[in-house]
């Protein structure tokens, strides 16, 4: 990732470019789907591997439970991310609570990994206001519904941290479709020009609802978009959590050192529908998704840990019990949140309500009382 520019003292161009040119299709991968380690020197230690595995299991459990809860009317419309856990967990796990996280609606797994409590996460997807008042001790924003608008926000938050002299960074997520939006490009350019400590995660999951990436853009390597803004771009196997974690850690450290932003493209796949209410059979076939089940990020690391002796079947079962118990306790907590009152519609617009809002609130309350 370190690139140096040699000074050229002669007018004539050298016969060969002294700069190492990375292969345009180079993709960082530490653990292949077949369980081979490609670069032992970069592999995180076993404890970190187990930690990442558990975080992925926890994220997957939420995704699976959300489906069931939706079908029984106990969850709102939910955009699943099952199959993308390595892309979300490996990246968000590189942050501390002093860093900023700007997730999109697809990134519940990233928010959970960062530390958003499960009860509030459930409440958010139930559209309860309790899920929108982000915890005071975290710097995570409610999931972004517009596409790409969070990217410039991350630049601003990162710049604010830099201006205050902290080493904190801002991380923002986007998808392959989102990288078509102007805000994506403006943000990369701003972050480069202002040297903002940002880590931009571009999850290329192959689909923007029904539009495949090949129809979205003629570009075949989205990490190369970084070059247009003079910032590093890295392409990583988005189903290899060890790789996403290591690559993101490097980008975060780079930002902390004041060396500026990085774009990371995680190459993954949206096996699941766009939302629980979507029917992908309208736009893709089984052939389209063939092969991706075998690349399942959770299964990949699980098999590796078991084979290496870093995890036993008994420990794995214990993880299952723990995350199930954690979720059910969180669900009970979310169930206990009181229903909002209509007054909450007109509250929290300004610190001091305008006279117009006061009158409208009175109208609303009078209507409720009658």
């Amino acid at each position: 990732m370190t690139r140096t520019r040699s000074s050229r003292k002669t007018a004539a161009p050298p016969a060969a470019d002294p700069m190492p040119t990375p292969s345009p299709d180079e993709m960082v991968q530490l653990l292949t789907p077949g369980g081979e380690v490609t670069d032992p020197a970069r592999l995180p230690d076993p404890e970190t591997q187990r930690w990442l595995y558990r975080l992925m299991r926890r994220a997957r459990h939420f995704d699976e439970r959300a489906w069931v809860l939706y079908r029984t009317g106990r969850m709102g419309v939910f955009p699943p991310y099952g199959g993308m856990e390595a892309s979300q967990v490996g990246t968000a796990a590189a942050l501390t609570h002093q860093d900023w996280l700007f997730p999109t609606y697809r990134d519940t797994g990233a928010a959970l990994t960062y530390g958003l409590p499960i009860p509030q996460t459930i409440a958010y997807w139930r559209t309860s206001p309790h899920g929108w008042a982000m915890p005071q001790n975290l710097k995570v924003l409610p999931f972004y519904i517009p596409i790409a608008t969070q990217y410039p926000h991350a630049v601003g938050a990162a710049l604010a941290e830099a201006r205050r002299g902290t080493r904190n960074v801002a991380m923002a997520y986007i998808g392959d479709g989102g990288s078509s939006e102007g805000d994506f490009h403006e943000a990369l350019n701003f972050a480069g020009a202002l040297n903002a400590p940002c880590v931009f995660i571009l999850q290329n999951n192959g689909w923007a609802i029904s539009v495949p990436t090949r129809a979205q853009t003629k570009a075949t390597n989205l990490s190369r978009r970084a070059e247009g803004y003079g910032i590093p771009g890295v392409r990583v196997d988005g189903n290899d959590v060890l790789a996403t974690y290591v690559v993101t850690r490097e980008a975060v450290e780079r930002a902390r050192r004041g060396e500026g932003p990085t774009l990371i493209e995680t190459v993954t796949y949206r096996i699941k529908p766009h939302t629980v209410a979507d029917d992908p059979s309208r736009y893709r076939t089984a052939e389209d998704t063939a092969g991706w089940d075998e690349k399942d990020p959770v299964v990949r690391l699980q098999a590796f840990l078991l084979a290496q002796g870093h995890l036993t079947e008994a420990e794995d079962a214990e993880i299952t019990r723990e995350i199930e118990a954690e979720f059910e306790a969180a669900l009970a907590e979310a169930d206990a949140y009181p229903e909002p009152t209509p007054a909450e519609i007109v509250d929290h617009v300004f610190a001091e309500p305008t006279p117009a809002l006061r009158r409208q609130r009175a109208e609303l309350m009078a209507e409720e009382a009658s």
Partner: protein, 333 residues
């Protein structure tokens, strides 16, 4: 007006704005000013003249040329606790940033139940009257007044501009601050030195009168004033109200005047349909119909783009003659 004021100094509106920005930078290290050409150049109208030299390139800085990025980055700075003061070079250049404005700027306190709020100011020159090129003379304030969660301030004098801008920067919520290009250098008045604020949401009574209420703001205040002076010569008492802020709107001052005069004219230089003048008209009709003696009359621009054709441009913008005609119309009832 709250103030710690020692002396008065005669200055233009753009100088008063520059004075307010310098004071804000001086008083609060969280205040950061950014936009296109606001640095070494001091802005196309020189509103930020000398500020970068005095406060440094971290507090006052040029951004890439992209308005959505400017507003979006400002939102992120605001989330992180800074007080961003962005300049959009012309109000008509705001449109690339409207997604950020409509989707986020006014929503952040609401969507996070006040966990986050955005103490951000977006300044922009607006309005016509000085033969600017195409796109440079728009008056899009109604779009912003229609956006929940943002305040809209439009001063008409140097003194107000300084006090309102300082109040806007100190406000905990997002404020659009539109500056009439026509007034930047055409008007001078004595402005208090030092820090003072004029609270948002308080209209200013420009002239008092018993017969007609003329409601206006920004670049239209001097137009209304001229019409009022002419009417007075004919024995008609015109009360000119300068709203100063559209959001929050000082309905109390408007209704008190209407109850006295029973006749209302609203003057803006924005297109007619859906303009803020219509909001004022509807409010008066809803709240004071029993006091009205004549229809409410709007004097506005046309439902056409502000013309880039210099020789006929002046016919777009309301002038004292048009306002006088409206005064005669309502007096005929």
């Amino acid at each position: 007006m709250t103030a710690t004021v020692t002396a008065l100094r005669t200055m233009t509106m753009v100088a008063a704005i520059n004075d307010a920005l310098a004071l804000a930078l001086e008083r609060d290290p969280d205040v950061h000013i950014f936009g296109e050409d606001v640095g070494i150049m001091g802005g196309v109208f020189r509103a930020t003249d000398g500020l970068q030299a005095r406060f440094g390139t971290e507090r006052v800085f040029d951004t890439p040329l992209a308005e959505a990025g400017i507003v979006g980055m400002g939102i992120g700075m605001g989330l992180a606790g800074l007080k961003p003061v962005a300049e959009i070079q012309f109000a008509g250049f705001l449109y690339p940033a409207l997604d950020q404005v409509l989707s986020h700027l006014g929503r952040y306190r609401h969507r996070t139940r006040s966990r986050y709020h955005l103490p951000m100011v977006v300044r922009a020159p607006y309005g016509g009257g000085v033969h600017t090129p195409e796109q440079h003379a728009d008056s899009p304030e109604a779009i912003l007044a229609h956006t929940p969660g943002v305040k809209v301030v439009i001063p008409s004098t140097p003194r107000d501009a300084k006090g309102l801008l300082l109040a806007a920067i100190e406000d905990p919520d997002p404020v659009f601050f539109f500056e009439a290009i026509k007034l930047y250098r055409s008007v001078k008045e004595e402005v208090p030195e030092g820090h003072y604020t004029i609270p948002l949401g308080q209209a200013r009574l420009v002239t008092e009168g018993d017969d007609v209420t003329v409601i206006c703001y920004g670049g239209m205040v001097e137009v209304a004033q001229k019409a009022a002076d002419a009417a007075r010569a004919h024995g008609i008492g015109v009360e000119v109200i300068d709203l100063r802020t559209l959001v929050p709107l000082d309905t109390g001052t408007i209704l008190a005047s209407v109850q006295k005069t029973g006749r209302v004219i609203v003057v803006t230089e924005a297109p007619r349909t859906g303009g803020f003048h219509s909001e004022i008209s509807a409010t008066v009709a809803e709240e004071a119909i029993d006091f009205l003696r004549a229809p409410i009359v709007r004097v506005t621009g046309f439902d056409a783009p502000y013309p880039p054709f210099t020789s006929i441009e002046d016919s777009y913008r309301p002038n004292p003659v048009r306002v006088a005609k409206a005064i005669r119309k309502v007096m005929a009832y």
